[in-house]
Structure formats: structure tokens, C-alpha cells
Amino acid sequence: MLGCFLSAASAWLRLRLLVSVDVVLRLLGFLMAATLAARGGDGAGTLVSVCATVGMVADLAREVGGPQVAVHALMGPGVDPHLYRATASDLVRLQRADLILYSGLHLEGRMQETFERLRRSGRRVAAVTDGLARDRLINAGGEGQKDPHVWFDVRLWADCADAVAEALAGVRPASAEAFRSRASELKRRWDGLDRWVRGRVEEIPPTRRILVTSHDAFGYFGRAYGMQVVALQGISTVTEAGLADMAQLTDFIRSKGVPAVFLESSVSPAGLQRIAKDAGVRRGGELFSDALGTPGQKHGPFDLGTYEGMIRRNVDRIVEGLK
């Protein structure tokens, strides 16, 4: 009786499932055809639409693209790119954009793999750090991993402007000259910014040029401007610091007489706050690490939503804290 019921049920199920397999396959075929329709019209008068991942990359694209481009940044102020989750409208923007710009060196995690496959399939996608010589980058652990926080060396980041100009020129060859000249203009301007940073850091007494932060984002800053950089967490913000790390850092701060430690806008402050208390030092102002500030907010004459404003406020806070 039971066996009879079961075999009838299983025969019915088989039929049922074959039908549903067929439906699924048809639906698949239909959708595939829909995806194939490629997009991206190239009317010479219209703006080049650029979709950038982090704010620093969007700022580069705005500077180099000037009035010929419309730039959208996926990750807003205070967003940690290591932990970013895309939304439905991000997808639509990425699909519709004429050019996708990302930072690279695994800053964007698995998004980068998707971007690389997209580039191989012929979409216009570029990593702004791709043009940099590998020996100018800082090693981060084994297997050719590099530290992705390139933007804290102003000269190195300025050199990324060339890659942006070439990527834009690929989309709009008619404006190639304008992009290239704006890129070299930008490099001249940021040379001035670089000198300003250097001058400010030299105001700190040499024994106090030690920057203690939450996670390891300031390696390039330290190398370029002669500061020792110590971080509580590694490159990734996901692994928590152990007790031994915290004790070691506290001892280090005491023995060196470091006057202040610095929290970051996109990383949890708890661990470093504890250390500041234990070591009896001040907390300096919050620094921007992996994101720009809110556009429209000012630091002196500079907009915190721009790269220059972000760098200037970080440096002013570091100098005020350590001087």
C-alpha cells in the first residue's frame, strides 16, 4: 500500500519536475538574450558617465575629466570599502556607466575579480593604481600582496591621474588632449600639496614623528613623509586585535613618549580608546582613512568631500596632536 503510494507520488513528481526544469531553462534563455543587448552610446556632445568605487577615485575622475564627465561614487563618506555591500541601484549604475574606475590592489575585495572579468570581456573598466610601478608599492604579507592605501602618498596618488586620463581618452578620444593636460596640471598642483604636507610634518619634533592608528592604512604616509606608523589592527579591519598586541602597543607608546593616538572615521574606535586610556595619552582628532568626508563640509577653504581637503585636514590634525 505504502509502496504503491510512494511510486505513484514519485512518478507524479518526476513529471512535475521535468515540466519545471523546462520552464526554468526557457526563462534562462529569455533572460540571456536580454543581457546580451550591450549598452553605452557614444554621443560626442554628451557627458561621459563614470562610476567610481571609493571617494578618492571619484575625486581623481572629477579632476581629470573636468566638465566632460559626470562622476558617481558608490561608497559615500564614512563607508569602509573592506565591508561594503552593493545595492540594487549600484548595479544599475555600474551597468549603465561608460567607464568604471576602481582603486585596485584588493581594496575592493571580491568586487575586483568581477571588474577584472568585465575588462577581459571588453567593457571599459580600469584600476587607477594599475599604472604604478610595482616596486613603488609597499608589500603586505606574502604572495605579491600590496598595501592598497596608496592615496596617502600624495605624489604616488597624483601619478594615478595618468591612468585615469588614458581610461577617459579611451571612451572619448576627441577629448583625449584635454584629459591629458588636466592630468599633468593636477600633478603640478598636487606637487604643491605634497610639499605642504612635508613642511607641516617637519614642524613635529623628530622624536615625536610616530603615528598610532586603529588599522594599517597609513603605511604610504609614513614612508613618504618620514613618520613611523604603528597600527593596532592589520590591513583588514575584520580580525580583532589580541590582548598581547594591545599590551605591546601600550608599552611602546609609553616608552617612546608618544603624545597622542588617532582614531579613524570608518573603523570602530573601542580598541584604541582603551589603549589611549591605559597609556595615559590624548586622543588626537579623528582621521579619514578609507573614505572622504561629507561634501560641503569645510576645512578652512577646502571641501572635505575632495581628496585635497581630506589630506589637509588629516595632516593638520596629526601635526596639532603631536607637536
Binding site: 510512494l6 511510486s7 507520488a9 514519485s10 507524479w12 513528481l13 518526476r14 512535475r16 519536475l17 519545471s20 526544469v21 526554468v24 531553462l25 526563462l27 534562462l28 534563455g29 533572460l31 540571456m32 538574450a33 536580454a34 543581457t35 546580451l36 543587448a37 573592506h82 565591508l83 555591500r85 552593493a86 545595492t87 540594487a88 541601484s89 549600484d90 548595479l91 544599475v92 555600474l94 551597468q95 584588493h106 575585495g109 571580491r110 568586487m111 575579480e113 568581477t114 572579468r117 568585465l118 577581459r120 570581456s121 567593457r123 603586505a140 604579507g141 606574502g142 604572495e143 600582496q145 592589520g234 590591513i235 583588514s236 575584520v238 580580525t239 589580541g242
Partner: protein, 312 residues
């Protein structure tokens, strides 16, 4: 910036089916495929009171990817998925071992196995891969909005769609075929293992097979769409179906219907609120479950209240 974006019927209910079919429609299709496969497995997990096994597996893959990274030195997705799959099946064997050779009950054994393995993974990452951005979020968890961007796979001149979609569709077809072949064994060993053993069915082999299927489904879905969707869609379709009917075949079919409704509901919700489509689909799935709970003709609260009022 307003908290809730402007609502327009055109944007929320019409555009996803017309101009947005290659973005929103594609995401909904992927969600549906995950919901189907996971829902089919989930129905049997619920019958066996092992619903948390999926949750356990999705946590315990961390040591698998850490060991895969240490052995191969690369973060290539192939090695990671293989490591995750091995770790997933190891979780099952550990749960079985603890249950069989100690007095610990299966639910506690699941808790022991996955938390220990997850912690082992945390330790491995901290000791050996400290300077590398290695955790399952960045290595294994796919993101639904990234899938429609992937360049499609071609079979001759026919374009089949993004690779994760093709993999999930293949897994679904394989699942359906396996289910059709072994339906009798699965059903009987789930409902009455004693009777199944007496009838000479290979009870423990079927159990291992089911867990192998679960591990495959979880890791493949995980790799494509991330953890939230997988854990929720393992349970919600089966649980909703279980509230609506007692019979197995209708349950399986209702699970598929639930997966489809969750995918569609999630698509509209994610467009309306501009949020993570995976999260929105789970919210929609939870809403369908609540509706079934309230209005199920046999066990629903509202029909029951109506009947008791009539009787009084």
C-alpha cells in the same frame, strides 16, 4: 537625504520587468534558483529536525578556506570553494561522530561542531594569514548585485548568462534529478528511520548523501550570493510549506512557489528602498511565512479564530 526614497508605481513595479530585466530581473532569477535548491534540501532538513545544519555549514567553512589558502597560497576561487566544501562535509562527519559516540544530542552536537570549527578558522587566520585580507566575507561571499555584471558564458553561439547563474541552474537541475531518483528513500528515512531500516533501506548512506547535497548547495549558493540568502532560504520555503500542508509533494512544490514569491517580492522591495537585494528577499520571504502562519487553512491563526467563534 530622506530615509525612504520617493515611491512611484512605475519605478517600483513596472521598470524592473521592462528596462530593468537585465539587472533586477537577473538578480531575482538568481535568488529564485538559490531558493529552489535550498528550499528542496531544506524541506528534508526540517523533517529531520536538522534545520540549523545549514547555518552550521555556512559558519564552518572558514577553516576550510584558511587551509586552502595555506596550501595553495592563492585566493583563487576554485581552491577556496573546494576547501569550503571539504570543511562543510567535515562538519557533518563531526556532528555524526559526536552524536553516535557520545551522549550528546544532535542539536548540541551541531552547536559544538560548527563553533569549534569556526573558532579553529579564526585562530588559523590570526596565526598564519595575519597580514592578508582573508576572511569569508571577502574571499567567498559573493554579492548578488555583482552577478549580472559578470560576462556571460557561451555555449557555441548561445549565451547562457553569468557563470554563477549557470552553476546554480546546473545545481538545481542535478538536485531535481537526484530528488526524483531517490525520493522514496529520502522520504521514508526522514519520516520513519526505524521502518526504513527494517525495510532494508540504507538509512545512513541516504543521510550522508543528503548532507553531501546540502554541503554542495550551501557552498555553491554562498559563493554566488553570500551568507544571508543561503541560511534564510534553506529554512523559509520549507517552513512556510510545512505550515500549509502535511503532504510531502505539495510541500516541495510550495517551497518552490515560496522561493519565486520571495525573489519577486525582494526585487520590488529592494527597488523601492534601494537596499541590499539579498536582505530584501529574505524580508519578503519572512513576510510570506507570516502570511501563511496567519491564514493557513488548516493551522492558521485567523481561520482557527474564525472557527472557534462560529462554535461558541
Amino acid at each position: 537625504m530622506t530615509l525612504v526614497p520617493d515611491f512611484s508605481v512605475q519605478r517600483v513595479f513596472v521598470d524592473p520587468w521592462t528596462t530593468g530585466i537585465d539587472s533586477h530581473g537577473m538578480m531575482a532569477l538568481v535568488t529564485f534558483l538559490v531558493g529552489c535548491t535550498c528550499g528542496l534540501v531544506g524541506n528534508f532538513l526540517i523533517l529531520r529536525r536538522m534545520a540549523l545544519m545549514g547555518d552550521a555549514i555556512s559558519h564552518s567553512v572558514l577553516p576550510g578556506i584558511a587551509v586552502a589558502f595555506l596550501l595553495t597560497g592563492s585566493r583563487g576561487i576554485g581552491a577556496m570553494v573546494l576547501g569550503a566544501f571539504v570543511a562543510a562535509f567535515a562538519t557533518h562527519l563531526l556532528v555524526e561522530g559526536i552524536t553516535r559516540y557520545s551522549r550528546v544530542r544532535p542539536d548540541a552536537a551541531i552547536g559544538i561542531a560548527f563553533s569549534t570549527l569556526f573558532a579553529l578558522g579564526v585562530v588559523l587566520v590570526a596565526v598564519f594569514a595575519d597580514r592578508v585580507d582573508l576572511d569569508q566575507d571577502c574571499v567567498l561571499n559573493g554579492e548578488l548585485p555583482m552577478i549580472p555584471l559578470e560576462p556571460p558564458v557561451h555555449l557555441g553561439s548561445l549565451s547562457l548568462g553569468p557563470p554563477p547563474l549557470v552553476r546554480l541552474a546546473g545545481l538545481l537541475v542535478a538536485s531535481v534529478l537526484l530528488l526524483a531518483l531517490f525520493y522514496k528513500e529520502l522520504l521514508l528515512t526522514s519520516f520513519d528511520p526505524g521502518l526504513a531500516a527494517a525495510l532494508g533501506l540504507p538509512v545512513s548512506a541516504v543521510h550522508h548523501g543528503l548532507m553531501l547535497w546540502l554541503a554542495l548547495a550551501v557552498v555553491a549558493s554562498f559563493e554566488a550570493v553570500g551568507a544571508i540568502l543561503v541560511i534564510a532560504l534553506l529554512i523559509l520555503p520549507g517552513a512556510t510549506a510545512a505550515i500549509l500542508t502535511e503532504r510531502m509533494v505539495p510541500r516541495l512544490v510550495l517551497g518552490v512557489v515560496h522561493a519565486a514569491l520571495s525573489a519577486i517580492g525582494g526585487m520590488h522591495l529592494s527597488v523601492a528602498l534601494d537596499c541590499s537585494p539579498a536582505g530584501a528577499s529574505v524580508v519578503a520571504g519572512g513576510a510570506w511565512f507570516t502570511l501563511a502562519w496567519l491564514f493557513s487553512p488548516t493551522a492558521g491563526w485567523v481561520p482557527r479564530w474564525w472557527r472557534s467563534r462560529g462554535a461558541a
